[in-house]
Amino acid sequence: MALPERQTDIGPPKYDAYLPPVIKENYGKWKYHEVLTPGTMVHVAEGGDKIYTVRAASPRILSTESIREICDLSEKYCDGYLRFTTRNNIEFLVSDKGKIDPLLAELKERKYTVGGIGPRISNVIHTQGWVHCHSACTDASGIVKAMMDELYEYFTTKELPNKVRLAVACCVNMCGAVHCSDIAVVAVHRKAPTIDDANVGKMCEIPTTVGSCPTSAIRPNPKDKTVVINEEKCMYCGNCFTVCPPIDIHRPEDDGVAIVVGGKISSLRTDPKFSKLAIPFLFNEPPRWPKVVDAIKNILETYAKHARKHERVGEWIERIGWESFFKLTGIEFTYQHIDDFTFMRDTLRTSAAFKF
């Protein structure tokens, strides 16, 4: 069968073709919203029109079969209109209030996970992991599934002092916004890479490879058309592997994950913040990463117990001080916690006023 004629540079379809009529009519005229339950909210327009949103989690990896099922549900309850959130949730956009309860009932029957709105955990931002990435040193989907099974109620019902944004990155490239999350997992290596000298000459640009190193640990070896790594300077970021595949950073028995905490992206109350190191290393333990899940649950529940209402994880830690964070969570403080990378001078303490 002949293929249709391709078009180039057309961009995406214009968004307005996919907006429900009530949104089209009230576009830019929303007055306020109310969270009705952990999985439902209503937005009310200046003129009184309402749009109801029902939010359900997705595992981000979706089969076409599941997408078709979501389509069927949206046709049955919301005239075929739906959207996805920036955190990979599905949102059913319901214009008819009477259809909310039947939709919720069917979602329950089909075992959808409804929730994620308000002061709780929303869906987890994560990367491809072993499912589909060459540089992954853990599996992102696997950790997310294991951790959210354990933290399930914090998505569906339980309240926290404020929103808690979780993320998992399967290497330090961080295709998700791990560096500014409340609690995040990032996979790390701990040993310098090995070099397949014969292939470096064939496959890599030497200056690019040398330039890829943030700590200047790589120098050229022109005689053998390869590079040499100064292991004392290497911080195992793996960027050399990205630009030069014969440099292999993967060591399955030594790789694992770090846990970082206290980041945020909104400007509410305090400026956006980077996440900082809480736990430098935990081993990969597929399929359920029990120590990683326990560590995250411990941090989350310590925050839930001690933070004031509306405090994000990072705001709580800044108020009590990091020394108190380590004391309350019982997390061991190590050499790895003291920065010796580019911004070291900004993180060392310059005051004698602190807590024991």
Partner: protein, 82 residues
């Protein structure tokens, strides 16, 4: 200068640099502009024409993109080489 002549120069330069340096579109345009005194837009159009018909192709490695002469495998896959 005729577009075909510019394209010959572009191809010759790409061939010369093959295996030495991964050329970005900009590297090629700058070099040919310097060699011919042609406008940037003229050189860019000539280059793009070559990419559109598979005389050159965009390549990718280590997170960055470049332009190179296509392999036979690529041309076969696009039905340009039987």
């Amino acid at each position: 200068m005729e577009q075909a002549e510019i394209q010959d120069l572009i191809f010759a330069y790409s061939e010369k640099m093959k295996g030495k340096k991964k050329l970005k579109e900009k590297d090629i345009i700058k070099k040919i502009m310097a060699d011919t005194n042609e406008d940037k837009a003229v050189v860019k159009t000539a280059l793009r024409e070559m990419i559109n018909v598979g005389k050159l192709m965009y390549s990718y490695g280590g997170g960055a993109s470049s332009v190179e002469i296509p392999s036979e495998e690529y041309l076969r896959e696009k039905g340009m080489l039987k």
